[in-house]
């Protein structure tokens, strides 16, 4: 799953963009998304796309392993765009560039920001119950991912997976998922005990340190200002 690779990149990365706070990067992403949604100016969108791509490269994100995430929305947009080829070249290009830019901005955000830090900011908008649910989901995902990986390995070694045999795969997947489901439900019971013992109240899983301004925040903030300035200019 990409989530694991993305998480690792965000965790071990050390670029200037990585060091900026989640809040500043969320601001940057939001600005880009707004520009993508509102603007109809191809030059501005192209400039924004070039900027986000350059930042992605500067942040040390291996483009090759994530290009499918970029191309994925672009592919649909482009097929749509080309179906309207008769009407307008500009319209087609707009659709393509818009989808690419939005996807790049999101990937830049999540490959350089640890997900808990993003949740830490979202927590301000979300009810405590949902914020906690997000964090627990994130924790559980990685515990379960390891287990699922073992199951899949066991399946492969015992001949339980073949790309072309649907019924075989379905049977194997159902077996593995069933066992994994029971494991995870039982784990959740034990987690419940832990929560009770350690005194759980909604909203306390994340500490208060969601934002501390640093000089590194200048990067995303300046980046966002440049894009905004461009938007005003054209």
């Amino acid at each position: 799953m990409h989530l694991a690779d993305i998480d690792y990149l965000a965790f071990q990365g050390n670029s200037l963009w990585h060091k900026a706070s989640a809040l500043s990067k969320l601001f940057f992403t939001l600005v880009i998304i707004c520009v993508v949604v509102i603007s109809r100016e191809l030059p501005l969108l192209l400039f924004t796309l070039a900027l986000t791509l350059a930042l992605l490269v500067l942040a040390g994100v291996p483009l090759r392993s994530f290009c499918h995430l970029l191309l994925y929305p672009a592919l649909f947009a482009s097929i749509f765009a080309f179906s309207r080829l008769g009407t307008s070249w500009v319209g087609a290009a707009l659709v393509l560039v818009k989808s690419l830019t939005a996807a790049t901005a999101l990937i830049l955000l999540i490959t350089t920001t640890c997900i808990p830090a993003i949740f830490g900011c979202l927590r301000l908008l979300l009810p405590p119950l949902i914020a906690d649910a997000l964090l627990l989901t994130y924790r559980s995902f990685f515990t379960l991912l390891g287990q699922l990986g073992s199951f899949m390995t066991a399946l492969r070694l015992k001949g339980g997976y073949a790309p072309l045999k649907i019924m075989l795969n379905l049977r194997s997947a159902a077996g593995a998922l069933g066992v994994l489901l029971i494991h995870s439900l039982e784990a959740s019971e034990r987690m419940h005990r832990v929560l009770v013992l350690r005194g759980y109240r909604p909203g306390i899983i994340f500490a208060g340190k969601w934002y501390r301004p640093t000089w590194y925040d200048l990067g995303p903030v300046l980046g966002a200002l440049v894009v905004l300035f461009g938007a005003v200019l054209v």
Partner: protein, 254 residues
């Protein structure tokens, strides 16, 4: 199953803003519906099941262009409102990792929440009358069909021009249905079609969309129903109390 994959920036802001507002209202309602004691005892299960849904989506089924969602299963095990929250959590994480656009997240949450709510209440109603397997399968099939219809409705309602296609994922293991859509009025300067012509083309594309998505949707619904039923009956065999305790919750809630 019913999951819109619309790239960002190609749908009119008014629609995704409506989607977000609807989502906010639904989530507020959901949080209010969950009692305080239920929170402490159920939140680990909520987290674990959301993670489980995320994982199940990534199980390669071979070349079938669909993946499991397990929304109804989550609703059965969590109750309707925590199920809605699970839907939100899963969709937010998916949107963050670039799976479907972030702008259509609100709409996606609404569609999938309908699956959770309908699935749960149908299951609860049928559970007393028929065998567990039949109750689960029926609830899943009906809920998914309804959410598929809802999605088609939303798509039609937004009057967006659509192009549906079947697309293998880049990694070649999983594939799923995708929508690429755009908003004609957005680029009105470039589009010089007559009103009538435009309406006509929207009709054909919606028809084409329905014709493409319904068969795939049906395959997805059948697979999902099988998976949810197998999983529920597996729990019933190994740890019946995990579902039984949900029954008590239901009785208390109703």
């Amino acid at each position: 199953m019913s999951h819109l994959h619309i790239p960002d920036g190609v749908i009119a802001p008014v629609w995704f803003i409506c989607g977000y507002l609807g989502m906010a209202a639904l989530l507020t309602l959901a949080v209010r519906q969950v009692s305080r004691e239920e929170v402490a005892s159920k939140i680990p299960r909520l987290g674990v099941l959301s993670a489980f849904m995320l994982l199940a989506m990534n199980i390669p089924l071979g070349f079938i262009p669909t993946h499991l969602n397990l929304t109804v299963l989550a609703a059965i095990l969590l109750g309707p409102w925590l199920g809605v929250i699970a839907v939100f959590v899963v969709n937010l994480l998916l949107a963050l990792v670039g799976h479907g656009g972030i702008t259509v997240m609100g709409l996606n949450v609404l569609v999938l929440s309908s699956e959770a709510l309908l699935g749960y209440y149908l299951f609860a109603a049928l559970r007393q009358r028929v065998r567990l397997e039949l109750a689960t399968a029926t609830a899943t099939v009906v809920a998914l069909t309804a959410s598929l219809a809802l999605m088609i409705g939303i798509v039609g309602l937004t009057q967006i021009d659509l192009l549906w296609l079947l697309q293998e994922h880049q990694h070649g293991q999983e594939a799923e249905t995708q929508t690429a859509a755009t908003m004609a009025p957005q680029i009105e300067g470039d589009v010089q079609e007559s009103e009538a012509e435009g309406r006509h083309s929207q009709h054909t594309s919606l028809n084409r969309f329905v014709m493409l998505v319904v068969p795939i949707g049906m395959v997805g619904i059948v697979l999902e129903a099988i998976a949810v039923t197998l999983l529920t009956s597996f729990i019933l065999k190994v740890r019946p109390d995990l579902i039984a305790c949900q029954d008590r919750q239901t009785e208390k809630g109703e």
